[in-house]
């Protein structure tokens, strides 16, 4: 009976030997992660741009702007990874942003305090996500169709509620509300980090811990890996499915709250086509649309890459209409890379 020496079954197996059971070394795992290569690509791009445009690219203002701009999409992409991890998709996040923006704008406009606007905004995202989740989990419609419907519904409700006006006369709650999205943390003279970036970093860490350390994070990945197996082993599949769409809706609502605070106005068109950016960010960061694979850091770095590409093209004087081409090409390349890695693993 040949026995693997490393899998000693004695009760006092230390952590070293447990970790020693890994087939892949930490380095191998790092090289196997798509987010690692995206980070390298981002680093290279920044290095090249700093060389080409030292005056405009490598400045603290530009850093501030890029990081703030990608934070809104990054926060949405975090919620999106959770949905994608279960094998689903949420196309409604852009419209949920519009609905949230209008809800917040109306509440502030009516003279209510900032926290009422935040609560109503989050409630809008929660409700839309809950409806998505209930239909997908309990009625059994496909995520694509359900959230496509919500994309249309949430946007239309936003337009109706706003009376097709821009809302910018925020009452007494306005200044505090605007501070969340527009404020910054001054690290040193001339170097600041925007609040949206700080929120994104905090949420990325939180989600990373959830994936790694909680049963819920594991259930999300299990459902995407083999839904039938998850069901048979006692994972509350339907409940978790509802929860992931609620998380996605809340993430989109939170991004909208920050965005309205930053821009100082609420329009019903906020977030149009952002769902594509959020999905792209998650996928570029290594989320697998077939489910079972997703990471919080991937959403972060995917969003960072997309917005750095945009910024770099702008600075190089490339017609802004080409941005979509570059982002799209990167997206397809990322999926292709993921496919090669997947094929090598099987």
């Amino acid at each position: 009976m040949s026995q693997n020496p490393s899998s000693s079954g004695s009760a006092n197996v230390g952590i070293e030997s447990v970790l020693g059971l890994q087939t892949q070394s930490p380095l191998q795992r790092l090289f196997g992660a798509q987010s690692f290569w995206v980070t390298i690509a981002l680093g290279l791009m920044c290095a090249v741009m700093s060389y080409l445009q030292p005056e405009s690219f490598a400045t603290s203002e530009n850093f501030y702007n890029i990081t703030r701009n990608f934070s809104f999409i990054g926060i949405m992409a975090l919620g999106m990874t959770v949905v994608i991890a279960t094998g689903g998709i949420d196309l409604s996040v852009g419209s949920i942003m519009g609905l949230t923006a209008v809800s917040c704008g109306l509440v502030l406009n009516a003279g209510y305090p900032w926290w009422a606007a935040v609560l109503v905004g989050l409630f809008a995202g929660f409700s839309a996500g809950l409806i998505n989740g209930l239909i997908i989990a309990y009625v059994g419609l496909s995520p694509f169709v359900t959230t496509l419907g919500m994309l249309s519904i949430a946007r239309s409700v936003a337009v109706v509620l706003s009376g097709n006006r821009m809302l910018y006369q925020f009452g007494p709650g306005g200044p505090t509300f605007k501070h969340f999205g527009g404020g910054a943390w001054r690290i040193a003279a001339g170097f600041e980090l925007s609040f949206p970036l700080l929120f994104l970093v905090a949420l990325t860490l939180l989600l990373a811990v959830i994936y790694k350390m909680t049963a819920w994070g594991r259930y999300v990945l299990a459902i995407g890996g083999n839904e039938q197996a998850a069901l048979l082993t006692g994972v509350p599949v339907k409940l978790v499915k509802v929860q992931v769409y609620v998380v996605s809706g809340l993430a989109a609502a939170f991004a909208a709250i920050l965005n309205v605070g930053w821009s100082g106005s609420a329009i019903n068109a906020l977030g149009s086509s952002y769902e594509l950016l959020a999905i792209s960010a998650a996928v570029i960061g290594g989320a697998n649309l077939m489910g079972g694979e997703a990471s919080a850091y991937g959403a972060f770095i995917g969003a960072a890459l997309i917005f750095t590409i945009r910024n770099a093209l702008l600075m190089q004087g490339v017609d802004s209409n080409w941005q979509g081409t570059f982002v799209g090409a990167f997206l397809i390349a990322a999926v292709y890379l993921g496919k090669i890695r997947g094929a090598r693993r099987e």
């Binding site: 693997n4 899998s7 059971l21 990945l221 890996g225 197996a229 006692g234």
Partner: protein, 246 residues
Amino acid sequence: MAVLELRSVSKYFGAIHALTEVDLKLEEGEVLGLMGDNGAGKSTLVRVIAGNYPPTHGEVLLGGEPVHFSKPAESRAKGIEVVYQDLALCNNLSAAANVFLGREIKRGFGPFRWLDHVAMARRAGELFTELKSETRPRDLVRQMSGGQRQAVAIARTRLSRARMVLMDEPTAAISVRQVAEVLDLIKRLRDSGMSILLISHRMPDVFAVCDRVAVLRRGTKVADKDIKQSSPEEVTGLITGAISAA
């Protein structure tokens, strides 16, 4: 009193009669072999007992009490563990994660409870060693051989002290050496008072460990007898229909 009893259980999938009025008893500390051709209804029987889907007609009783499970978690809570034919594994998770899926070991306080990866890897390692399997707890199931995957599915049933284990072809994909280990395990479980339903196409396995053998043919039970009063030849005849009933 029988640990498990099926009374006139039928299961229809539309026009397909997967099970027709099956009566079956499983006594305490007994190993019952269930045999039958492909499509005879063996897996359907397991899934009805486990609460995957309700029977169309008939009753399932545990210790004499009728039960109506609406999901597998409920039957597991009553001490029924199952090794599914397709193993029910998540390829994207580690062996340990699969073993503990749905009943993770957690640490923490109040609402803050996080996974105890070390404890789960250690326990899974012990179970694999007990099964004499060279399965490493932290390996991804995706990268595993058929035998290692089977070990993961079997290890799962050892987490709690179950009353009975239903094994749907647990020896289908494994080597001769590991088949011996699984049969050994079945004997040990029986000696500790557990009841086992073993589904297998392998005649020697059934005759090596089972106390009783039942045969399903096209959804109907055609035999149910003490294994000592039967023979591989007779069971083969019952499976194929050469012998109509025994």
